[in-house]
Subunit: 145 residues, 2 copies
DNA sequence: ATGTCTGCAAATCCTTTGCATTTTA
DNA sequence: TAAAATGCAAAGGATTTGCAGACAT
């Protein structure tokens, strides 16, 4: 891709090694696929995007779990009970505007992190994360219906 | 309970009637149980709290869905893929601070709705909703680990 | 060599659906 | 009486687990 995501990928791989994980081809492709997304994606979408259509979804889930375990992936629960996965760049996170119909997703430059963190700490909570995703129907889909 | 929740319950029942729904004993007890909670709860917890231990969970889910349909109940997705339910004043919604370990959830008086709505409309989106939930580990759970 | 990954199958959990029966209005 | 709610059983979908064989270091 580009040098930015390359160095992110390298950082993740190093941490994975440090934690005793192995660097397999599938794992690399999954990380690359995650790095290419600019929005959260489902395990199945990640599998497709990684060119692993023939790979068992279990393997994708296990890799996502392993990545989550080293803090490289964030899980995002949705309204319908499923979850999405997103590569976590230390010190950064994004929110999105997602079309319910065509699933197009645009990044929203909006940050409530600071406020949320303060509030959560005031309640005695630690290890704070937050999820914020905005859903709607985009203009194209609205016109076509 | 008190006059505030009584009037909320009455409002909900009227709305339910207006939509062609029937007012059954179980439905009333489910709404009352929801009204007594000051935080989101699982379908099973709601069933217990409503004194409907013998009632099929399906019935609880269907009632929660019906209430959601008239805007009286909000669904809150958890990180583990399950969901909690909370009574809401029709037209309003809340955000929460949820413990990853004990799943305790408290309401957060914080909403980015206005900002989000403007942003989404500027992008040409309609029928906007948003999910925002904050996850962490509460003090009790942190102490016990 | 040793511990980690992968695949296959089956299990699990929460939630939803189908259909016959009961209840509300 | 007609439409809606309920119960039971079974299905559904996303995710997880067990175990044997394959792979990375």
């Amino acid at each position: 891709m580009n040098s930015a995501s390359d160095s992110l990928i390298e950082t993740i791989l190093e941490r994975m090694r440090a934690e005793g994980g192995r660097i397999t081809q599938k794992r690399i492709r999954i990380i690359q696929a995650l790095a290419e997304f600019d929005h959260p994606a489902s395990a199945d979408k990640i599998r497709q995007s990684a060119g692993l259509a023939e790979t068992d979804l279990v393997t994708v889930y296990r890799n996502l779990e392993a990545l989550h375990g080293i803090g490289a992936v964030q899980r995002i629960p949705l309204e319908n009970g499923t979850q999405l996965f997103e590569l976590t760049v230390p010190g950064e996170h994004y929110h999105h505007l997602i079309c319910r119909e065509c699933h197009q997703a645009e990044r929203l430059d909006l940050c409530v992190g600071k406020e949320v963190l303060g509030r959560a700490k005031a309640h005695g909570y630690s290890q704070i994360t937050h999820v914020m995703e905005v859903y709607g129907v985009c203009k194209d889909c609205d016109d076509h219906s």
